[in-house]
């Protein structure tokens, strides 16, 4: 039996390594493209954020004395004075100023209106303008208190100092663990999808499956070999992605992040993540093979696997959202629990209960899918369904 499995497995492997398209999809993309894209987006995003944070604020002011107040209070940035709000509206729309402050002095202080152009690209500078206004407010309060001879502590009785107790590993794991979990499981899925359609529906369409079935080989053994092979390509895809992402984390980040990534990649975490992704991959492989077996042609198989692809993508995106954790019902939702467990493993906070639940439930579902596949593999209608 093992010899038969080895023969079938070797044949699938030979075909796989000669199919450049599938090889590119399952190995090159996860190893190079996705991590490089993620690294590039991360770098460009942080650079953009930095430039927005560091660029001088461009503040328009309308109203006598407001510009003077801004400068006296130590407000940053370049000031542009306008005679009226209408005069500055064009500059605000065109982005020549970030905000326009329109204000007038009253007996008790100042009434200030902040005019902004609420697009996503200006959120950072607008936040900075708000912080500057808060600073001006504080300046005015302190001045009033000084005039009245009241100490500042009378209005600011609470002094808060923040201490972050989270270990570097947990801090980094919580930030990137969700994204890495998404990539690992998503690519395990696409790795299975890329080969499952070809090794069953494709072979059925090309007639090569019928030639194999005309030999004394046991069809169930054949399907076991195909399941093993499809699972292997799924795992290969996930591991390539992990290797690529780890390389980005270890080479392309700040030294403190690098140290955190090194801490995350310990043997226990990797073993737990491997086990979690493996069971998910076997489930994906079994489901994909079943759809491929039931389809008349590779095209039909692709049209059946596409909705599953969308469903898995949505489920994984949901699991990645902030605030979604394994407490309560989420522990029992298939795929979501695997994704959450992978994230927790990267944070170093994976509980035994979540690990066992995620592995156990996925294994059960995988066994069910394999059972259905066993029935399909004996179905003449499914095997010899003509396109």
């Amino acid at each position: 039996m093992m010899r038969g499995l080895a023969i079938m497995f070797r044949k699938e492997w030979r075909e796989f390594v000669r199919d450049r398209r599938t090889l590119f999809l399952t190995c090159v993309m996860p190893l190079v493209f996705y991590p490089a894209a993620m690294g590039a987006f991360g770098y460009l995003g942080s650079e953009q954020n930095r430039s927005l944070r560091e660029a001088p604020l461009r503040v328009g002011v309308v109203g006598a004395g407001l510009g003077h107040l801004w400068q006296s209070a130590g407000g940053e940035g370049k000031l542009q004075e306008y005679a009226s709000m209408q005069a500055g509206q064009g500059d605000l729309r065109a982005g020549r100023v970030d905000v326009i402050l329109e204000g007038s002095q009253t007996a008790s202080g100042w009434n200030v209106a902040m005019h902004l152009w609420g697009t996503a690209d200006r959120e950072v500078v607008q936040k900075r303008a708000r912080e500057q206004l808060a600073g001006i407010e504080k300046f005015l309060i302190h001045a009033n208190l000084a005039r009245a001879g009241i100490p500042v502590s009378a209005v600011e009785p609470l002094q808060v100092t923040e201490f972050d107790g989270a270990p570097v590993r947990e801090a980094i794991g919580s930030k990137v663990g969700g994204v890495v979990a998404y990539f690992l499981i998503f690519l395990a899925f696409t790795g299975c999808m890329a080969t499952a359609v070809d090794v069953v529906a494709g072979e059925k369409e090309r007639g090569t499956l019928e030639a194999v079935l005309a030999t004394p080989v046991d069809v169930r053994l054949l399907m076991v070999a195909k399941l093993g092979f499809v699972s292997l390509t799924g795992m290969l895809s996930a591991l390539c992605s992990l290797a690529g992402l780890a390389a980005v984390g270890l080479l392309g980040t700040a030294p403190d992040v690098r140290a955190g990534v090194r801490e995350i990649l310990d043997a226990n975490t990797l073993a737990a993540v491997f086990a979690l992704v493996l069971v998910a991959t076997v489930l994906f492989a079994a489901v994909m093979l079943n759809l491929s077996l039931a389809a008349r042609s590779a095209k039909e198989a692709q049209s059946w696997t596409s909705p599953v692809f969308l469903l898995v993508s949505l489920v994984l995106i949901y699991a990645m959202l902030p605030g979604i954790d394994a407490n309560g019902g989420m522990r029992w939702v298939p795929v979501v629990n695997i994704s959450l467990a992978v994230r927790e493993a990267f944070c170093g906070t994976l509980s035994a209960l979540l690990f066992v639940t995620a592995i156990g439930e996925t294994l059960l579902l995988g066994a069910l899918a394999i059972l259905i596949g066993g029935r399909l593999a004996r179905s003449e209608d499914a095997l010899f369904r003509a396109a």
Binding site: G4, D19, E203, T208, A211, A214, P216, D381, A382, F384
Partner: protein, 290 residues
Amino acid sequence: MRGRGRRRVGRPINVGPGRILSHLRRIDSLAPAAPCGLDEGVIEVRGVSKTFHPGRFGPKQSVEAVRGVSLRCLPGRVFALLGPNGSGKTTLLRMIASLITPDEGAIQVAGFDTRRDGRDVRRRLGFLTNAALPNTRLTAEETMDYFGGLHGMSARHVQQRRDLLFERLDITGFARRPVGGLSAGMRQRVAVARTLLHDPEVVVLDEATAGLDVLAAGNLLAMVRECRQAGRTVLFSTHIMGEVTLLADDVGILHQGRLVFSGTLENLSANRISASLEEEFVRLLEGRAA
């Protein structure tokens, strides 16, 4: 694993000493098989019916693909199964190759029941369809290694058979090129070598010349002749009368799942009413339809 012991407890039909010798021998060439009595059918089909029912993967309505067909293919002879498209030829051949199971009736191939001893049947049978071309990303050599392994042949035996077949079929020159880059005729030759690799007693061809050019089809027909000379039983389906007159010893005409004629080619030719065999074929089908 079912072996010869299982065969004894089965229901062998007319298994003489010659047949047993034929099954036991390890053939290393295309040498003639051991002779069999002419009354012994290597393929025995008895009252076989097959209906495809509507279902999850089945047709939209019930299709009676094969209805009460009985036929016998004698050893060392070529049996042509003739019929128009949709007459049930492929279904019948798949049942003979134990790929699908008959609803009624029984089929025995080389003494083995297709329903009970499917693997033994497939061990002794070479099955080739025009659709089942070799895997395009493997070379001809790798294809032979793969199929030899599936048939449980040793590496040495595979190599011997491969070398012999490659020489006979003139494959050696392109044996290490991926099949996907070969012409249709070359691919067909690789498919033929794959079919004959395990030295089957019975060769079943399902419209194997369909879609081939004249040269490739000619090569395939030559292979059928060679199989007959080597004492193999060949059952082939076609809808081309020319192939039948060139090759067949016996003819069965299938129409709408029923066998409307079964006999020798001489018999069909001698008793025909029409001017030619083609016209006789059409007459038989139309008569049946009427």
